[in-house]
Amino acid sequence: TTAPPADPDAEIKIRKKRAPALKLDETLLLSPAGIPKLRSYARSSTHLKFKGKGHEFSDMGRLLNMYQLWLDDMYPKAKFRDGLAMVEKVGHGKRMAVTRRAWMEGSKPGRGEE
């Protein structure tokens, strides 16, 4: 029943700590891979190009694909629909509300880029 004496020379195994699982929360959404990236898509003209009248479905299809790839980059674990629901839920938080409000203020004419 006695435990074997500890060998002082034995190598101490250091187990690598697993990185905590990525959580879809406000921090992630506001990190560079999150909404800021999406906003940069909207700035560049390559991502958000609409053909306009007569092409509604293909336009929307492209828009949806853009969101899908963005979500996959940010939070690869979730399927598109699940991910969207989770993002939507995070949007109810206080911090998100404040940030959204600020973005909205920024889009008002005359106050755009400072």
Binding site: D59, M60, G61, Y67, R81, P109
Partner: protein
């Protein structure tokens, strides 16, 4: 043999021995011809068995004796045989009628559906329950299809002498016998093959159709009609049992189909089959579009280049040419799922109380049931339902929680049936007599009060099934009133006008419906269907009604902040008798009243319908639309109307600019798994979705502000539900200008 019984400890061997010996003493079949011989002391033996049931099973809260009786084949082997020995000619034979009653007394508890309350169930119950449920199915089959005699008819005969007595002169014993007979019919209607247990392959013999056929052939329906039409006076105490019987006979039956002629019915069914086959074809088509064109080990693999030098790999040939298929494949290959809600609401309600499921009847059963329902509407509906309403209002002992639900469900069912009959035969009895008088008992003010109160209560208590039943009843009442208003008879029109006035006068009703619509979370498709239909009918009717009557007033509750004033004035007297509880209670009431005063104001339809167009309401309708593959054309149309109203009549299309909603709309039209182009109303949907998409694109490209800030904001806002006070800005690109004086 004995060892087996002792080893398997299902039942105490001594109990089993006693019960078996009693069953043996009841009687037995002859060995050389097939006649049944009643035992010398059969009556005493039957009484003893009953005593065992009461004093052992019920007192100790066990199922042991029932189990033994099921194993000993008492019902099929003895009870039915004895009942068959009592022929119609020997109605007055005392011993035989006595024996028959004793059999009935045993049959009822044996077929009684086992109700398990959570806190009282024991291991013993769970051990015996499946066996007993299957045994009951066997009992039902035996009773309905017994070949030598009509068992149900014999039961009717047992009840008749007691029923003939006027109510005042009926003894307790007589009342008991009538109840016993009715409970037997209830049990027969209620027993179904449990879904979780293996069937013996003859469900048809215990199906609803078989029950209805047997009830019709063996004169049970006639008895029910008698009881129903006498529910006001002669059979007051039996109304609740009759309610149960009707509920279990009618739940899930389509009232509209019941009143179709056979040819029309066949036509309808062909149509149904056609739409189903269309659906299937569309499903295959959408699958084939993405299906591999070569064998499954062909093994093509491709990568998707993404930005920042990232690559994703996807397998399968379908992805090579089709970009959307690639993304779809990427999505499908993910294995993680968002944890689903697992709460109380997803728990299965008991099979027998459920009324969401559809039941199909065969031709003969349909005919029998139809004639019964017609007779019942003509004679029994009003007495029964007014008697029930009174019983519920008085909170009589015989009314349980379940019965209220059944009451409202049946209101819905019979009104639908009356409607179907009315529209089916418009030429026959038009204007001769007032057909709406047949259902007048549920269109009076008292019923509305009860309905409203019950709806509010089940909403407060979150008992969704009850709420669903009240919603169904409310919807059907609205529809009935609607057809009444269209009637040529002036009296009908006037009555309808009055009822509509009453319904729409109370703003509390309007607010409650909104609250219910907003409160949807996880209650399932049947509930969702009831809620959205109610809203649909209600809003459309109010719209029409407010157009006709320009100066409509409603009674609304206003909050008045008079509390501070009250406390100031009330300060002086309250000093004198501070501790008087009565006074305090009165003060509380005063306070409550001070907060809400009732005032009348002009009804404003725009304001009213705007209440139904909040984001939460939209979410509820989208929850319904998520089931689009299973929805009927009617339900799809309902959704379409709602979104059309939202997007184009009220200009709130902004609420639809959310990626998950857009995704669903896109999938519905373009697939995979979308609506079939042949389905009714597909064109309208396509147009609607196209318009929504066009507006969405326009919205993001609105030329406001400097640079791309507007677009950036749009892209973000499309992820989330919109906050109410920013909606105006998002729609227009500028804040609302509020004039200040």
């Amino acid at each position: 043999m004995e060892e087996v019984w002792e080893k398997s400890q299902t039942v105490d061997p001594e109990v089993r021995a006693y019960v078996y010996s009693l069953v043996n003493a009841v009687g037995g079949s002859s060995t050389y011809d097939d006649t049944y011989q009643v035992g010398d002391d059969a009556y005493a033996a039957l009484q003893d068995i009953l005593r065992w049931l009461r004093l052992y099973d019920e007192k100790l809260n066990r199922f042991d004796v029932k189990r033994c009786l099921a194993e000993a084949n008492l019902v099929q082997g003895d009870l039915l045989e004895i009942l068959a020995l009592w022929p119609e000619e020997a109605q007055n034979h005392t011993l035989k009628s006595k024996l028959a009653l004793a059999c009935l007394q045993l049959l009822v508890p044996l077929t009684w559906p086992p109700e398990l309350e959570d806190d009282k169930t024991t291991v013993n119950h769970h051990r015996h329950l499946p066996y007993l449920q299957l045994a009951q199915v066997g009992y039902k089959r035996a009773v309905l299809h017994y070949e030598h005699a009509k068992i149900l008819r014999t039961a009717v005969r047992i009840g008749l002498p007691s029923m003939v007595q006027p109510r005042r002169e009926r003894s307790n014993r007589d009342e008991g016998i009538v109840k016993l007979v009715l409970y037997l019919f209830r049990n027969m209607a209620m027993i179904t093959q449990p879904q979780m247990l293996p069937a013996q392959g003859d469900e048809n013999e215990v199906s609803r159709s078989a029950t209805i056929d047997a009830f019709s052939e063996q004169d049970v329906f006639t008895l029910l009609l008698t009881v129903g039409s006498g529910a006001n006076d002669e059979f007051q105490d039996q109304d609740v049992i009759l309610l149960e019987i009707l509920f279990h006979l009618l739940k899930g039956v389509d009232a509209k189909k019941l009143f179709m002629e056979q040819q029309q019915m066949q036509h309808e069914e062909t149509n149904e089959l056609r739409t189903l086959m269309q659906k299937e074809k569309a499903m295959h088509k959408s699958y084939n579009r993405h299906a591999p064109s070569r064998h499954n080990r062909f093994g093509s693999m491709l990568w998707v280049k993404r930005e920042d030098q990232k690559m994703s790999t996807v397998t399968g040939q379908a992805s090579i040419v089709d970009g959307d298929a690639t993304l779809l494949q990427m999505d499908h290959s993910k294995r993680w799922n968002k944890p689903k809600y697992r709460g109380k609401q997803t728990a299965q309600t008991s099979e027998q109380a459920d009324f969401g499921e559809k039941v199909e009847l065969d031709e003969s059963a349909r005919k029998h049931l139809r004639s019964f329902v017609e007779d019942f509407l003509d004679s029994g509906f009003n007495p029964l339902f007014s008697s029930l309403r009174k019983a519920i209002e008085r909170e009589t002992d015989r009314v349980g929680e379940v019965h209220k639900r059944q009451y409202f469900y049946l209101i819905n069912w019979f009104l639908a049936a009356e409607n179907a009959r009315h529209s089916e035969a418009p030429t026959e009895n038009v204007s001769q007599d007032n057909t709406f008088a047949y259902v007048a008992a549920v269109l009076d003010q008292e019923t509305f009060v009860l309905l409203n109160r019950h709806m509010q209560r089940s909403l407060d208590e979150k008992s969704w099934v009850d709420l669903q039943a009240t919603l169904l009843a409310f919807t059907q009442i609205l529809l009935t009133v609607q057809t009444m208003a269209k009637s040529k008879d002036e009296d009908d029109q006037e009555i309808a006008e009055n009822i509509q006035n009453r319904i729409f006068y109370e703003e509390a009703t309007h607010d409650r419906i909104v609250q219910i619509l907003r409160g949807y979370t996880n209650q399932g498709l049947a509930y969702l269907d009831a809620v959205t239909e109610c809203v649909h009918v209600f809003v459309r009717m109010l719209e029409r009604y407010s157009k006709q009557n320009a100066d409509l007033h409603i009674r609304s509750k206003r909050r008045a902040r008079r509390k501070s004033k009250k406390s100031q004035t009330g300060a002086a007297p309250s000093n004198t008798d501070e501790n008087d509880p009565e006074n305090e209670a009165a003060e509380e009431d005063d306070e409550r009243e001070a907060h809400t005063t009732v005032s009348e104001r002009k009804f404003d339809f725009a304001r009213f319908s705007a209440k139904f167009l909040s984001q939460t309401c939209v979410n509820t309708f989208f929850a319904l639309l998520h089931f689009h593959a299973d929805l009927t054309p009617d339900q799809l149309k309902r959704c379409h109307r709602y979104f059309y109203r939202l997007a184009f009549k009220h200009d709130l299309v902004l609420l639809l600019f959310r990626i998950d909603i857009l995704l669903l709309l896109h999938r519905m039209i373009k697939g995979p798994g979308g609506l079939s182009p042949e389905v009714e109303g597909f064109k309208e949907w396509e147009q609607l979705v196209q318009q929504v998409f066009r507006r969405c694109v326009k919205w993001t490209e609105k030329p406001t502000g400097d640079g791309t800030a507007w677009r950036e904001m749009c892209v973000v806002e499309m992820l989330f539900s919109k906050v109410p006070n920013t909606i105006y800005y998002l729609q227009n690109g500028y804040e609302r200008v509020v004039e200040r004086r």
